[in-house]
Every structure is written in structure tokens, then in C-alpha cells.
Assembly symmetry: C2
Homo-oligomer: 208 residues x 2
DNA sequence: GGGCAGACTAAGCGCTCGCTCACCCTCGGC
DNA sequence: GCCGAGGGTGAGCGAGCGCTTAGTCTGCCC
């Protein structure tokens, strides 16, 4: 509720649940480094340095560099799923719920671009087990959005040719915001969220 | 028109212009390796091995590993720009040209997913100079699509709130196909191209 | 104030990386 | 048949990687 949303490096949220203070600082440092240079190009020395610690300190709190990515990825996906769930299960028409889901999901990808980039684009750097765990969360995200689209089709609000394909396109559109969004660019996260909600409603033929 | 589109490793095209035969084999090997594991996780030994050569052979044809990525990126972006230019400059209404641009651009990203993945997602691995050269090509891609959208708005075919934002969303949607498309999945590149052309026409308020 | 647990560091191990170098084939011109 | 050039190789360099280990510092219970 009163969690700090901004740090020097950019956005931050919800890392409050990571409990030893040093472990949290290392995690945030890792998010920033992975987002900037990618997982494989980031060294453990770089992460530790950003957190103001020696390279060895990392291994007191995490077993491997991959465990850092795994933890970041799981927390991030849980947050993303939470956002979509809240929007999908609120009161309102399918159009209202879809617009809510898209605008809040996009706001998260734009405002939390650093985190979202790692979460969405470094999945392949995980080992098979961790990867499969994260993919399960991702399928749940897909199911939440598809549920809204199906509701809209059933109620006649939406006019959609291919529910599965359209759902995928909607999620794809939102996720890719993390790739191109620039905090110094012409839009705020709110503006992109509003624009995208409108575009998505047009995609599902919700009506005028 | 009659260029070979498929190889054992997946899709390939247009690499015919890379002239010493060994250099072309190395380039294709690099595309496959970069697409699978990412630039930084790929070793020069892996690239050379895929091309059936010793690690040292790579340095006869390319100065560094980065030069391989640079060459791949430039050729790929030139191909992408060419696709968009052909669609933008053909005869027809703005809606026809936009649908053509989207469906052919999406087909390239889906069918040539290996190449497209490298081209679209490994840009940050380039040095500043090479990166800037590629970004210039990317801005030209953006301009081609924006031109079609502006034509449609001017002629009254389209109903768009934010031309710049909508153009970005259209390109973003197409590019992200390279991230999720799976050759073993339920759709062919042609089907995704047709679905996306329909979705994009809805986004710009064409027709109906 | 002695002892001990936990957080942290300096130093460095073993390995693999991008890249180089000394050498070796093969082949066309004379 | 000898020569030179260009494409190729095996071995290995210096560097930097992920990670470990021996030891230090700090604070707290008795």
C-alpha cells in the first residue's frame, strides 16, 4: 500500500516480500543489470557491485546466478497474473473488463519496463524445470484474458473471428510494450494504456 | 519469387548475396545459434562447429563475432524494409495496402522466425555505431507504415485517434510474432498473416 | 568480557571464452 | 615439378567468467 514505487535506477515495486535486506538489494541490482545487458552478458561481479557488495556476497543469499533470474521471473509473473486476475474478475461488461485488463497490464509493462523486460524476454535463459514453472504461470495469464474475450463473444458484445488467435494478439501487443517503451519518450504509461485499451476494443469489435 | 525459402535448419532466404560459400555457411550457422541461445550465450566454437569448420576459420571471413551479428542484422532489416516498401507503394486503397503490408510482414516474421528473432531482438548486442545504422533502417520501416496510415486517414478510409501511436502498435504487433510463433503450433504463417491483417484493419477503423 | 553465529570479504581455482599464430594442404600458372 | 597464394587447421594465449574457501568483522547472549 505504501511501498516505494521508484528508486534511483527506475521503477520498483513488490520486492518488499524479499526479506533479508541484502538479498533484496542484490535482486534489484540483478533486475537492472539483466534489463540493461541481458542475462548472459551480466556478470555476478556487476550485480554485486551495483548492490555495493563483494562478488562472494551474492552466494550467501543465492545458490547461483540463475536462481536470481528464477526468483525475479516468478515474482514478476505472479504480479502480472495478479493484475490480469483483478481486471478479469471485477464487476462490469466484458468490454469494461477487457479495457481494464489491457490498460493496467500495459501500464505495468511501461512503468515497470525494467522488470517487465527481464520477466518477458529472459525466459529462455532459465533451465528446463524453472522454465516450465514460469510457462505454467504464463498459460494462466493467457486463460484470464481468453476468459474475458469468450465472455464478450457469448454475450454478443464482441465480434471475433478467432478467439484463441485474437487473445494471443492482445497479450502479444501488451507484452511488446516492454521492448519499445522509453521513459524519455513522448508517452506516459497511462497514455499508452488508454491508447492500447481503445485499440484492443476495436480488435474485438466492441462497439461504438 | 522463386527463392528457396526452406533449409534443413528451418527457413532461409536472401543469404545468396553473401559471396564466399564458407562465409555464407558461417552466417547461416550464426543465425541459427543466435536465434536459439541469444548472441551472448553463443560461442564462436558453436558457430564454427555448426558450419562444419574449426573455430579459427571464422576469423578468415569475419573480423569479430559482432561483425557476424551486424551483417545478419543489416541484411535482415533491408529485407524487412523491402517487404514494407513493396506493400506501401503498390496500387490500391490504403486498406488494401495496409493489409498487404501487415500480412506479408507477419509472414516474414513467422516463416523466417529464426532470422527475424535475431534481427529484432539482438539489436542491443551491437556496438553503438552498428546499432545506430540499424536503427536508421528501423525508422524507415516505421515511416513506410505511418505513410499508409496517414493516407487512409486523409482519404477518410481510416478512423484513427493517434496516428503515431497506432503505427507503433501495428509494427509492435507484427514484430512480436517472431517471439511467440512456433512452427509446430496450430497456425501457418499465412494464417497468422491473414488474422493479423484483419485485426489491424479493425484497429484503424477501416471498413464495416 | 569470552565465545559464537551470521554477514561479509580477499584471494583465487578451474574453466571457457574470443581470438591469434605457426603451419599445412590444394591448386593454377609457368 | 616448383611456387605462391588463399582457405583451412591444431594448439594455445590472456582474460574474464561463475563460484569457493579461509578467514575477518560485528553484535549479542551469558
Amino acid at each position: 500500500m505504501s511501498t516505494a514505487e521508484e528508486t534511483a535506477g527506475g521503477e520498483t515495486s513488490a520486492w518488499g516480500e524479499v526479506t533479508p535486506d541484502a538479498a533484496r538489494r542484490l535482486l534489484i541490482a540483478a533486475v537492472e543489470a539483466f534489463a540493461e545487458r541481458g542475462y548472459h552478458a551480466t556478470t555476478t561481479r556487476d550485480i554485486a557491485g551495483r548492490a555495493g557488495m563483494s562478488p562472494a556476497a551474492l552466494y550467501i543469499h543465492y545458490k547461483t546466478k540463475e536462481e536470481l533470474l528464477h526468483r525475479i521471473s516468478r515474482i514478476g509473473h505472479e504480479k502480472a497474473l495478479d493484475i490480469l486476475r483483478v481486471a478479469a474478475r471485477r464487476e462490469g461488461t466484458a468490454a469494461e473488463r477487457l479495457a481494464d485488463a489491457v490498460s493496467s497490464f500495459v501500464r505495468w509493462h511501461a512503468g515497470g519496463r525494467t522488470t517487465a523486460r527481464v520477466v518477458q524476454y529472459e525466459l529462455d535463459s532459465l533451465g528446463p524445470d524453472a522454465r516450465e514453472e514460469i510457462l505454467a504461470l504464463r498459460r494462466q495469464c493467457d486463460a484470464e484474458v481468453r476468459g474475458i474475450v469468450e465472455d464478450g463473444v457469448a454475450s454478443g458484445e464482441f465480434d471475433v473471428l478467432d478467439v484463441k488467435g485474437t487473445t494471443l494478439a492482445v497479450l502479444s501487443l501488451c507484452i511488446d510494450v516492454a521492448r519499445w517503451f522509453n521513459v524519455d519518450g513522448p508517452w506516459t504509461p497511462d497514455e499508452v494504456g488508454a491508447l492500447y485499451a481503445d485499440l484492443v476494443l476495436r480488435m474485438v469489435g466492441a462497439g461504438k
